[in-house]
């Protein structure tokens, strides 16, 4: 059977990983190539690179870096950030990305997901949804979680999946950064609503949070996190051993 996946997410600005790390033995802790290789060598099942650059110059740097990463690291790569058109899909896929994640771009342009799915296949299109509770409702937020779109999240996610999104990254704004565990209620609602892989994001603070995630919600396929991996609070090889000891299938 398919393993549960553990996915570190790297935010990249102007070709450098934002938020340094404290790994021993890395010459350059902000190099996406070195960090990516470190994770790939240490049990990551997939990598997400998120381009948070605003300028065109920074975007060019990002694609150069991405090429270098893809020439060095031989596990699946997902790329997100600033994906607004099918030309953006084309640009990052040519640099070696396997999947492309869309967020605000899909909110602004409802045709983006169906167009990209037709061109590159559903398995290539990842919907990244930032969701927050507002007035007792799960709401979709845009622009990095700053703007309430007013849209109800479950129906939005279902619509994107039926339009061709082959995977959903659910980032709970309510639990993001709190490090008290994933947003299990929100994840349960989403994983019951769609039949494509769901990746949990936001809230992991320790190994046990991943154990709880996969035990309570067996339908969730993967756990994504950033800083707890970057700062070594959770080490992926140890996390995977803990998961295995709890009878959760992982690649070791």
């Amino acid at each position: 059977m398919i393993t549960k996946r553990i996915i570190p997410c790297l935010d990249v600005r102007n070709g450098r990983v934002v938020k340094g790390t404290n790994f021993q033995g890395l010459r350059d802790v902000s190099s996406p190539v070195e960090l990516g290789k470190y994770y790939s060598d240490n049990g990551a099942d997939e990598l997400v690179f998120y381009d948070i650059t605003a300028s065109a110059e920074g975007r060019r740097l990002f694609t150069d870096i991405l090429k270098e990463v893809a020439a060095t690291i031989f596990i699946p790569l997902t790329v997100g950030g600033g994906i607004n058109t099918v030309e953006d899909f084309d640009r990052v896929l040519k640099c070696g990305a396997d999947k492309v994640s869309v967020n605000s771009g899909a909110i602004r342009n409802p045709d983006l997901i169906p167009q990209a799915a037709r061109l590159y296949g559903d398995q290539c299109v990842v919907l990244s949804a930032d969701v927050k509770r507002v007035e007792g409702q799960f709401r979709v937020f845009a622009k990095g979680g700053r703007e309430d779109t007013g849209m109800e999240a479950i129906s939005w996610i279902k619509r994107c999946v039926s339009n061709g999104a082959g995977e959903v990254v659910l980032n709970s704004i309510d639990t993001d950064g709190v490090k008290q565990g994933f947003d299990l209620d929100m994840l349960e609602a989403v994983s019951n609503a769609v039949d494509v892989p769901v990746i949990a994001s936001g809230g992991a603070g320790c190994e046990e949070d991943f154990v709880e995630l996969f035990q309570r919600l067996p339908k969730v396929d993967a756990g994504l996190a950033a800083s707890i991996f970057h700062f070594g609070q959770v080490k992926i090889p140890d996390l995977k051993k803990t998961l295995r000891d709890n009878n959760i299938l992982v690649r070791l």
Partner: protein
């Protein structure tokens, strides 16, 4: 030299890079003249079977691959490239493949237990069943992304993976090899498989 067959399907950057990473020169080309100088050929592919099979025909690459394989040149089909090695695919209709291996490509829908997601996407374990290429990788995890799979290929079956039912993961018959998974996305295990292919 490894010849990666470019017939307008999919992105070959990772595949070429992975050969480079194991110290092998790999050329991406759609020219029979260039590819015929390669010691080994790789047939990649992503997307729909019908479209890929048509492109193989239209570019003349299909006949070229068949003749190279008949001469005994090692050939490795990857993902859709593996599926193209078979006689027939039933992906949206019925379409002829290269016919280098006996078997058909069929949908997982209705054949795997309900509740399992399609595509079969992620890391799954190889169970070696025969042949040389996959033998040292028995029990290892490799990366899959596919919704169709080969059946009726008992005479070439090299490895299966369990997804409710045994799914054909790799095939091997004489000089013709195929991997349903992506060795270029399967970390060190995948690179080791590519490296062995370069030594066969």
């Amino acid at each position: 030299m490894i010849g990666i067959i470019d017939y307008g399907v999919g992105n070959l950057f990772s595949l070429q890079s992975s050969f480079r990473a194991i110290g092998q020169e790999a050329v991406v080309s759609g020219s029979a003249e260039v590819l015929s100088r390669a010691e080994r050929l790789v047939l990649p592919g992503v997307g729909a079977f019908e479209d890929a099979a048509r492109k193989l025909r239209e570019t003349g690459m299909g006949d070229f691959v068949r003749s190279q394989a008949a001469e005994g040149k090692p050939l490795l089909g990857i993902c859709l490239g593996m599926q193209l090695l078979f006689e027939t695919s039933f992906e949206y209709g019925e379409h002829p493949g290269l016919g280098l291996l006996k078997g058909q490509v069929v949908s997982m829908a209705g054949r795997i237990p309900q509740g399992l997601k399609i595509p079969h996407m992620g890391w799954n374990r190889l169970e070696w069943t025969g042949g040389e290429l996959l033998k040292p990788s028995d029990g290892e995890f490799v990366y899959f992304v596919h919704s169709y799979f080969a059946q009726g290929c008992e005479d070439s079956l090299a490895a299966v993976t369990e997804y409710g039912i045994p799914i054909t993961a790799a095939v091997e018959r004489d000089n013709v090899f195929g991997c349903q998974f992506h060795p270029e996305k399967s970390g060190g295990v995948g690179l080791a498989i590519l490296d062995r292919f370069c030594r066969i």
